[in-house]
């Protein structure tokens, strides 16, 4: 049953790619082929000179198409905020977003006529490619990671993971009372200074080598070895048990955070670059006609 569920989940994660029997993939391929044909025709008409392809019928049409597409693709950010009935479902929208966005590689590159330089036109192209490449990364992680993400969390929610950690922290502070000063300090540090997420790189690489909980756990474990059984040892055992559980929970939470970071990180390029692209696109279009 679990396997069935997993299969169903996988299908639903991929479904924006397979939506409506790849309808938008086909549309994107058709658009690309038409644009390639237009480019080839322009090239033939211009004696195979790769001059300004922007300054031709092909250039103006592909430019209008590309600019229109960019604005529409960016509108996904608005569209996703609204619920609609099933007409143009969000899934259909995302599917079209992905495939038409990919066709923009063909449209934009041929529109440029492969003429690049340190100018506002190439800036717009570079931003467009940055948005598309980060989007491709997004497609890959969205197709592969959500299953892992849900697995990594087990059956708990994010809030429960945190609650559990804070609960353990509260109990640690209680249980650690009989410990001596140095050991109590380790526990306090573990409670107060343990970071669950941490910096950007730490989240992405999941490298938490200097985790205070881990540090307290190792130090107290070795302290326990030299401690004769007694009341203090009993307290220490309890502390160790709580710390171990906290460490386990932390590991789980951090693995979850790493996956979630991967799932989100491309958006930090995709979204700002999209908005910047719209600015650069405006500059490109206006400057071309200002001095045309």
């Amino acid at each position: 049953m679990a396997q069935q569920q997993r299969a169903r989940a996988a299908a639903s994660h991929e479904s924006f790619l397979r939506h409506a029997h790849f309808r938008w993939l086909i549309v994107a391929i058709l658009i690309s082929l038409v644009v390639i044909a237009g480019f080839a025709a322009t090239l033939v008409l211009r004696d195979y000179q790769l001059r300004h392809t922007g300054d031709s019928w092909f250039g103006y049409i592909s430019g209008t198409l590309g600019a229109g597409l960019i604005v529409w693709l960016a509108a996904l950010g608005v569209r996703k905020r609204y619920m609609t009935d099933n007409v143009w479902s969000l899934k259909a929208w995302v599917s079209a977003h992905v495939y038409l966005g990919l066709s923009l590689i063909v449209i934009g590159t041929l529109h440029s006529g492969l003429q690049f330089g340190w100018n506002v036109h190439t800036l717009a192209y570079a931003l467009m490619m940055l948005v598309i490449l980060s989007g491709i990364f997004g497609i890959i992680v969205y197709a592969r990671l959500p299953q892992k993400l849900s697995d990594s969390r087990g059956e708990t929610t994010q809030k429960q993971m945190l609650e559990k950690i804070y609960n353990l922290d509260g109990r640690l502070l209680e249980v650690a009372r009989p410990l001596d000063q140095a050991q109590a300090a380790l526990v306090t540090r573990a409670v107060q200074r343990t970071r669950i997420g941490g910096s950007f790189w730490r989240r992405l690489t999941n490298a938490h080598g200097n985790c205070e909980t881990l540090h307290a756990l190792t130090a107290l474990k070795s302290a326990r070895k030299s401690l004769p059984d007694g009341k203090q040892a009993q307290a220490l055992d309890q502390v160790l048990s709580l710390l171990e559980e906290k460490e386990l929970t932390l590991t789980k939470a951090r693995r979850y955070i790493r996956l979630r970071s991967l799932l989100e990180v491309w958006l930090f390029i995709h979204i700002p670059a999209t908005i910047a692209l719209i600015g650069a696109l405006a500059a490109h279009i206006i400057s071309v006609f200002f001095f045309w």
Binding site: Q160, G197, E245, F268, I271, F290, F291
Partner: protein, 628 residues
């Protein structure tokens, strides 16, 4: 023996509620799910978290059903074996289950909910910390900052500078300008790289011909031309601008062009014209911003490259042009095979001293009236007086052998010829010296009959001269020495007349117009105009090796110009166009010397009438049009 569940709900400020029931299941399941025997309403507990089994009279085991651990006696374990006598305590999330031995051997499970509101609150506050944005930056902020910066730097600043007067802000402006440039300019225009407004004069209006012609205007007077040269030099141009004449007046060009049969191209023309981007501007053919980003490096401007020029097809207009441009004198030429024969411009005569130039068909055997009496055959003959004299003049004088064409006709660098000059090219034989003074020859001033008369009068004024001695009168071809009269006459006048009358110095080559009054010495010479360019609308380069020598390197002038059999200067010794066709338009299989049949081989677009020069030819070649 069974399990009895006692659930205690703690209430603040009120007694606890205690519910007790016997569990039906022999092995009760602990979990959040409704199918569990011991239901714990806490999300931290799994749906089916663990199962409790009695394993002995005083012993139970608890086994986790899923991956989640549970706490047993302060330890987190996956399964535990517990002695009831020790009052074990299990913790699932916020629920504490105490196991004790009940009556009748039953096992009493006391479940107490433990509230940890602090942790719950803390967790709700912190739950967003899973999101990356708390470790990175706000997407919205960065998006806005980048967009505003781009719009400011790439749009608002350049436009503002254009509006305010860009020259005052050269420093910022050049950087602001460059970022709009779609590509580097051609080498010739490299110096304008940071001066967009030199060509782009108005916002949202395409580059107009006025902008181009402000430097490249042809047919200017000297003053205006000098101004333009200075102006472009001040802008940094390494060369004076090439004057670009119109191929024809603009309205005639438009009239000559046939209506495009292609509907799409007709629509194209209409649209481009409507959107102030007409396709009959200079910039419609001359593409800019496709250069290599380098300034001119050579001594002459680099020719226009093919990527900098949109090539048109001559035959588009020149096929059937006479029907569209009914008053044109230019014959229709659809291709090289249909090129009419040459119609050279010759000197047909003189109106007073002014030559009358006429364009005549070569097939009409034109007679040219250059005003000179000259026979090429006599001069080029391998035998006879001319040849003998040339041999006698010797190598040191530049002769030493019977005459060849290049003894008189010297090729110039521009592919034409240095004009023939009497003193230099004829004077070695047809000497103008008439006496020696202190051993130095005194020459009659050529081209000025009145001065000739004056010089001879002065010479003979002092009485008769000898034909020998230090200042003897020199005998020349056709002259018979000093005229010695048999009866008393005007001695001076008789000697002056001798130079102009039959047998005199001038007589052999020039048509002499004697004075109406026989006593006058007012002799005149009919005007002479040697044609230097018969085909001014084409460009024949004599310096092309195949054009002046044969396969063995010997001069081949005779192939085209039948000079050895030409008895009179009146004959126009131009070849028929068929002569060109022996190489041009032929394939390599047909002849080793096969050459192109492109119109541009001979005709420039802008400066068809300019003297031939290698540069013009290069320009013409790139500016023109393929026939194929």
């Amino acid at each position: 023996m069974s399990f009895i569940l006692r659930q205690i709900t703690q209430r603040v400020g009120a007694p606890d509620i205690v519910r007790e029931k016997a569990l039906a299941a022999a092995e009760p399941v602990i979990g959040r799910g409704s199918d569990c025997d011991i239901q714990l309403s806490d999300l931290a507990v799994s749906l089916r978290h663990a199962v409790v089994k009695q394993t002995g009279p005083d012993q139970v085991s608890v086994d986790a059903l899923g991956a989640e651990n549970f706490e047993a006696n302060n330890k987190f374990v996956h399964n535990a074996s517990l002695e009831l006598a020790k009052s074990p305590v299990l913790v699932f999330g916020s629920h504490v289950l105490a196991l004790t031995q009940g009556e009748n051997g039953d096992i009493l499970v006391t479940a107490t909910a433990r509230e940890n509101t602090a942790a719950t609150e803390h967790a709700s506050e912190q739950k967003h910390s899973f999101s990356l944005k708390y470790a990175l930056f706000s997407q919205r902020q960065v998006a806005w900052i980048m967009t505003v910066l781009i719009l400011l730097a790439c749009l608002i600043v350049p436009i503002s500078l254009f509006v305010i007067d860009h020259n005052r802000h050269q420093m910022i402006s050049s950087a602001a300008d460059r970022q709009w440039s779609g590509g580097p300019l051609s080498p010739g225009h490299h110096f304008l790289e940071e001066d967009c407004e030199a060509c782009h004069r108005q916002a949202f209006v395409s580059v107009t011909d006025t902008a181009c012609l402000s430097c490249h205007q042809a047919d200017l007077n000297k003053m205006a031309r000098a101004n333009i040269v200075t102006q472009t030099r001040n802008l940094g141009s390494p060369f004076p601008p090439d004057p670009a004449a119109d191929h024809a007046p603009h309205d005639r060009l438009m009239a000559a062009a046939p209506a495009d049969p292609n509907m799409l191209r007709r629509i194209n023309s209409w649209v481009t014209a409507t959107f102030s981007h007409p396709n009959n501007r200079c910039a419609s053919c001359h593409t800019e911003h496709v250069g290599i980003g380098q300034a001119e490096t050579g001594k002459t401007p680099a020719p226009v490259t093919s990527s900098e020029l949109k090539r048109n097809d001559c035959k588009d207009c020149h096929t059937g042009m006479s029907q569209r441009l009914t008053d044109t004198k230019i014959p229709d030429v659809s291709d090289w095979g249909h090129h009419p024969d040459f119609r050279p411009v010759i000197t047909a005569g003189f109106d007073g001293d002014k030559p009358r130039l006429e364009k005549v068909a070569l097939s009409s055997m034109p007679v040219e009236k250059e005003g000179l009496i000259f026979g090429h055959d006599v001069h080029l003959s391998a035998t006879g007086g001319v040849a003998r004299q040339a041999v006698e003049l010797g190598n040191a004088a530049g002769y030493g052998a019977p005459l060849t064409c290049d003894n008189c006709h010297r090729r110039s660098e521009d592919g034409g010829f240095v004009p023939v000059e009497m003193k230099r090219d004829c004077g070695q034989c047809h000497s103008l010296a008439f006496t020696r003074k202190n051993g130095v020859e005194q020459l009659l001033p050529h081209g000025h009959p009145d001065q000739v008369v004056a010089a001879l009068r002065a010479y003979f004024a002092n009485g008769p001269r000898q034909s020998s001695g230090p200042d003897a009168f020199l005998g020349r071809p056709g002259l018979h020495g000093v005229f010695t009269p048999s009866q008393p006459v005007d001695y001076v006048a008789a000697n002056v007349r001798g130079a102009f009358e039959p047998g005199g110095t001038c007589y052999g080559c020039h048509v002499i117009i004697p004075p109406a009054d026989k006593r006058s010495l007012n002799y005149r010479v009919a005007p002479v105009k040697l044609t230097s360019r018969y085909l001014p609308w084409g460009d024949f380069n004599h310096n092309v090796p195949e054009h002046h020598q044969d396969a063995n390197g010997a001069a081949n002038c005779e192939t085209c110009h039948k000079a050895k059999s030409s008895t009179k200067a009146e004959e126009v010794m131009l070849p028929k166009i068929a002569e060109c066709g022996t190489c041009h338009g032929k394939t390599k299989e047909q002849t080793q010397a096969a050459a192109g049949s492109d119109c541009a081989e001979c005709h420039g677009f802008h400066n068809t009438g300019l003297a031939a020069s290698p540069r013009n030819q290069q320009l013409a070649r790139s500016a023109l049009i393929r026939i194929q």
